[in-house]
Amino acid sequence: MLRIDSLTKRYKTGDKALNGVSFDVPAGQVVGLIGPSGAGKSTLIRCINRLVEPNAGRVLLNDSDITRLGRHDLRRARRRMGMIFQEYALVERLSVMENVLSGRLGYVPFWRSFLRRFPQSDVDKAFTLLARVGLSDHADKRASALSGGQRQRVGIARALEQDPELLLVDEPTASLDPKTARQIMRLICEVCRERNLPAIISLHDVLLAKMFVDRIIGLRAGEIVFDGAPSKLDAATLTEIYGEEDWTQMHDEADETAAHAAKAHDLEPSREERMAGLA
């Protein structure tokens, strides 16, 4: 299905983000990508659809080499790869429906997308997806009017609207509270199973990765240091990936800090409130 072959990326600053990374993903497998910040998780995901250009190596999607495609063919390849982003990356000022339909941009000519006259089949699909992610009533709201969890659901719908053969998911839960994070991860994994869709999901939360994915790849300094079933991930391998730490205590603490963060997020004052009393 997807084959990554000795992929290497060196940034202009001289930092080597990826160093000969190779692995295969069979159809329908959900792969979790873990590793410390700067290990190259984001870079790896972006090299697959060439939002970041790799320096060497190959990316084979159904036997076509993505790294050798010209601009036009690259766009055709990108539309087969749905991407879900950290912090949602929705176009905030467009409506939910426009955001979902933007998943069809690679399929429709410019005049159609400019006039928002998408083929009826695309619109049908978008409504079905919105129902699937539980946002049927929000189609005409602005994306910025939704909560974090709802926005990420729109992000998922946008990616699925592309009819992808592969999902690339970059830290989907980075700014969500623990409960919403679990719901989002569950949703992503469910849709992958429904459609037998392979996915690569980078995660900073090891517990979340262990809970949901079929296979975990651990990156450190641009190299794969672990590749196996989530059950094989023990304290020793975590030390190998992240460095020395008391991994047995991780469980409760991670949840607690996340819960605190979530609470703080809910109570965040609005812009008006922040400036109230000044004038």
């Binding site: 939002l51 766009r75 790869m81 912090e87 990356a89 933007s102 941009l105 690679g106």
Partner: protein
């Protein structure tokens, strides 16, 4: 222990310029220059007292505005100014948008960027009056020269500020659109346009405002509009008519200001 040690330790905000000699030299130098500069302005008090009387005469005219005697000239001038303002703002904005796209480093290739930045620099380098004099010389007296002047000035203003807004967009949103396989035009339409639209509308309305005020100024050098009427009135020492025109300009600017701030709020 460490808290006890920290007791009594003074703290001051570090000065901007560390070296005290350099700091004081700069302060004193600036002060000396200011005093010298003020001394170099010589004021002819006799002329001032004469001028004050004339100014008072003018102010009196202003307080007794005469809208009627020359009402036809005033209305014609106003209509001309408003036409110049609206047409030049629309044309200027339409031309600015592609130039702004070209002048945003994050979406334009380098050669296009250099050309578009060049156009903006030329447009911004010259003040409206200078351009108006040039266009009046080229196309003769009248509102057409004014229309060209204001359109040209609008390009420099709007394209520069819009290009800067495009450079400041949230790149992640545009990246997400790129990741769907969208082409360049679609990325602009979906990933960038929604983000800069409020600013574009706000700047266009602001420019409409500026263009109206400028239309009164460039009329003085012959580029038509109410400025020409105002100039004629002043030359005739007809301060009541001049006062009437000034009051109308103030009212229109106020209305435009109020309307545009409402519109901007509504757009956002």
């Amino acid at each position: 222990m460490s808290t006890a040690l920290a007791q009594g330790r003074p703290w001051r905000r570090p000065p901007l310029i560390r070296n005290p000699w350099l700091r004081w030299a700069l302060y004193l130098g600036a002060l000396a220059y200011l005093v010298a500069a003020l001394n170099s302005i010589d004021v002819n008090w006799e002329r001032v007292s004469e001028g004050l009387a004339q100014g008072w005469h003018f102010a009196q005219g202003f307080f007794v505005p005469d809208f009627l005697t020359r009402s036809r000239d005033i209305w014609r001038g106003m209509a001309e100014s408003l036409t110049m303002t609206v047409t030049s703002t629309v044309v200027g904005c339409l031309i600015s948008i592609p130039i702004a796209l070209g002048a945003a480093r994050n979406i334009a290739p380098l050669p296009v960027y250099v050309v578009c930045r060049g156009i903006i620099a030329v447009s911004r380098a010259f003040q409206e009056i200078i351009i108006a004099i040039l266009f009046v010389a080229m196309f003769g007296f009248g509102p057409f020269a004014g229309f060209l002047t204001l359109s040209f000035a609008t390009i420099g203003f709007l394209a520069k500020l819009l290009a800067e807004d495009i450079e400041d967009i949230n790149a992640v949103q545009a990246e997400a659109i790129r990741a769907t396989g969208a082409n360049w035009w679609q990325v602009i339409n979906y990933g960038i346009q929604p983000q800069v639209m409020p600013r574009l509308v706000g700047l266009s309305l602001y420019r409409l405002d500026i263009n109206f005020r400028e239309s009164a100024v460039i009329g003085i050098v012959g580029a038509g509009g109410v400025g020409a009427t105002l100039n004629t009135a002043m030359q005739r020492y007809d301060y009541s008519t001049a006062g009437a025109i000034l009051i109308m300009i103030i009212v229109i600017v106020l209305v435009a200001e109020y309307a545009s701030s409402h519109l901007r709020k509504w757009v956002q």
